[in-house]
C-alpha cells in the first residue's frame, strides 16, 4: 500500500537505528515525549523501543482523546441515557471507558440502553434520518482531527433540517493540552519528570498545521518534531529531536511533511470555526481545568447542541467525578508515572476490565504496555503467570 508500506521497512529501520545510535551522546539521556497515543501505539506494536539505544526513553503523553476525557462528561452522557429516550451514537473507543460507579456506555447498552457505535458522523446522521421519532445524540469526542467531521454533520443537519439530531460536543485542543502539561508542577519544576523534547501530533497537525506548536520551543525551550504514526516516521522524528537536543536547538520541525503544512487545512479549520467556538474552560483527565482548551457549538447552531437541548447536559449540571483512588492515569497522562507504577496494572486493571481510561483505548499507555510490551517487565509478567 503506497504511503504505508514504505514507512514500515525493516532495513530502513535498522539504518535509522544506526544513525540514532551514532547520534546520541552516551554521556546523557534523552527523554522524549511522544505526544500522541498514535505514536505510543506504533512504538509498542512495532517494537520501536527495541531499536533504540538504552539512553533514549519514550515518555507517553496525553494525546489520546479517550484517555483525557474526564469521567464527569461520560457521567453526563450516561445520565442523559437514563433520563431521556435518546439514541446515543459514539465512536467505539468510548464504549468501555469507565464512568462513575463502575458504569460505562457498554454496560448501559448491555442493560438495554440504545447506544450505537458509529464509524462516521455520517452514520449518526443516517440513524437520525431513519428514526425521525427518536432524539439522536452524537457523543462527539476527539482532537482537531475528529472535530471537522462533527462540524460537517452539524452543517448538514441544518441544511437538511434533521431536527432530531444533536451533538454533545467534547472536542478538545492539543496545543492547550501541551500548555497544561508544560505548566503542571511536576513538568514545570522538572524535578519529577524530565522532558527533553516532543514528537508532535501528526493527524491533528494535518488540520491545524505545525505553527500552533511554536510556543513550545519559544516559551518552554523544548524541541518539537511533528511525526507521522508509521514506525519509520517515529524513528526519524526521534532522530531529529535528538539532533536538536545535541545542537541545543529548540524549534518546530516537520517530519510528516507529506501531509502536514505550517498552516494546515484551511477549509477544515474554517468549517470548525463557523460551527464551534472556544469554551472558557474544560476539565482534562490528569491535567485538570484548562482555559480555552475545548470547543462548544456556536449559538447560531444551538438547535443542534445537545447541551442546549437537554437540561442534564448543561454546564450547570457538570459534576467533577473522581477517578478510581489507586488509578494513576492522571500521573501517567502527565508523563510523571509509568503504567507499571500503578498498583492495579495487570491485576484489577486489564483491557478486559479497565479501571482507568489509559487501559481502554489501544492508544492508551497502559493498554499498549500491557498488550504489546509487558514481556519486557518481570514485575507485570509475574502477576499474570505465577
Amino acid at each position: 500500500m503506497k504511503f504505508i508500506d514504505e514507512y514500515r521497512q525493516q532495513d530502513v529501520a535498522k539504518h535509522i537505528a544506526k544513525k540514532i545510535a551514532a547520534a546520541v551522546n552516551p554521556e546523557r539521556s534523552y527523554h522524549i515525549m511522544e505526544f500522541c497515543g498514535g505514536h505510543t501505539h506504533a512504538i509498542f506494536r512495532y517494537g520501536v523501543q527495541d531499536l533504540m539505544p538504552a539512553n533514549v526513553q519514550y515518555i507517553h503523553g496525553p494525546g489520546c482523546p479517550v484517555c483525557v476525557l474526564p469521567m464527569g462528561r461520560i457521567d453526563m452522557a450516561i445520565q442523559l441515557m437514563k433520563t431521556e429516550d435518546v439514541i446515543l451514537c459514539t465512536y467505539a473507543d468510548m464504549m468501555r471507558v469507565p464512568a462513575s460507579g463502575q458504569e460505562s456506555l457498554l454496560k448501559l447498552k448491555a442493560a438495554g440502553g440504545d447506544v450505537r457505535m458509529v464509524y462516521s458522523t455520517q452514520d449518526a446522521l443516517n440513524i437520525a434520518r431513519n428514526n425521525p421519532q427518536r432524539q439522536v445524540v452524537f457523543f462527539a469526542i476527539g482532537f482537531e482531527t475528529t472535530t471537522p467531521p462533527t462540524a460537517v454533520a452539524i452543517k448538514q443537519a441544518q441544511a437538511q433540517n434533521i431536527e432530531n439530531f444533536s451533538v454533545f460536543c467534547n472536542h478538545v485542543l492539543t496545543p492547550a493540552a501541551m500548555t497544561g502539561l508544560l505548566e503542571s508542577p511536576e513538568v514545570a519544576q522538572g524535578d519529577q519528570v524530565q522532558i527533553d523534547g516532543f514528537l508532535g501530533p501528526s493527524h491533528v497537525s494535518s488540520i491545524i498545521g505545525s505553527k500552533p506548536y511554536e510556543f513550545v520551543p519559544q516559551t518552554y525551550g523544548k524541541p518539537v518534531v511533528i511525526a507521522g504514526f508509521e514506525p519509520l516516521d517515529v524513528m526519524q522524528a526521534t532522530l531529529m529531536v535528538i539532533n536538536q537536543i545535541n545542537q541545543n536547538r529548540a524549534e518546530v520541525e516537520n517530519e510528516y511533511s507529506r501531509v502536514v503544512t505550517p498552516e494546515g487545512n484551511r477549509k477544515a479549520c474554517a468549517l470548525v470555526d463557523e460551527v464551534m467556538t472556544l469554551r472558557d474552560s474544560f476539565e482534562w483527565r490528569g491535567l485538570g481545568f484548562i482555559a480555552n482548551s475545548a470547543l462548544k457549538i456556536r449559538p447560531e447552531f444551538s438547535q443542534f447542541d445537545a447541551e442546549q437541548r437537554f437540561a442534564c447536559l448543561r454546564d450547570s449540571a457538570y459534576v467533577i467525578a473522581s477517578d478510581h483512588k489507586a488509578c494513576e492515569c492522571p500521573s501517567i497522562l502527565r508523563g510523571v508515572k509509568k503504567p507499571t507504577d500503578c498498583s492495579l496494572f495487570g491485576k484489577a486493571c486489564t483491557p478486559e476490565n479497565p479501571m482507568g481510561s489509559c487501559m481502554v483505548s489501544s492508544e492508551g499507555a497502559c493498554a499498549a504496555y500491557w498488550s504489546y510490551g509487558r514481556f519486557r517487565d518481570t514485575h507485570s509478567t509475574e502477576v499474570n503467570c505465577a
Binding site: D5, D11, S257, R258
Partner: protein, 86 residues
Amino acid sequence: MCLAIPAEVISIDRDTDNASVAVGEVKKTVSLALVEDVNPGDFVLIHVGYALEKLDPEEAEKTLAIFAEMDAEMAPETTTVEGDRA
C-alpha cells in the same frame, strides 16, 4: 482514535461530494467535504469516513530520501524502497 490512512482517489461523485477511495485492494466511500481540489489519482488521508487532507507525493519522496541518507560516519547500505509484503 486519530487513526487515519492514505488512500488513492478512484472516482468522485461531485453531486454528493463523496469519493470512492482505495486502500490497497479495498475500496471505500468517503466524504470530500473537508478538502479542496481533489482529483482521481490523488492520495488523501482518510479518517472516520472523511478525507482530511491531500498527500504531497514530492514531500513523501523527500522524506524517504532523508530516511535513506548516509550520515558522515556511516558505511553505505541497501536502502531501496519496497513494500514489506509481496
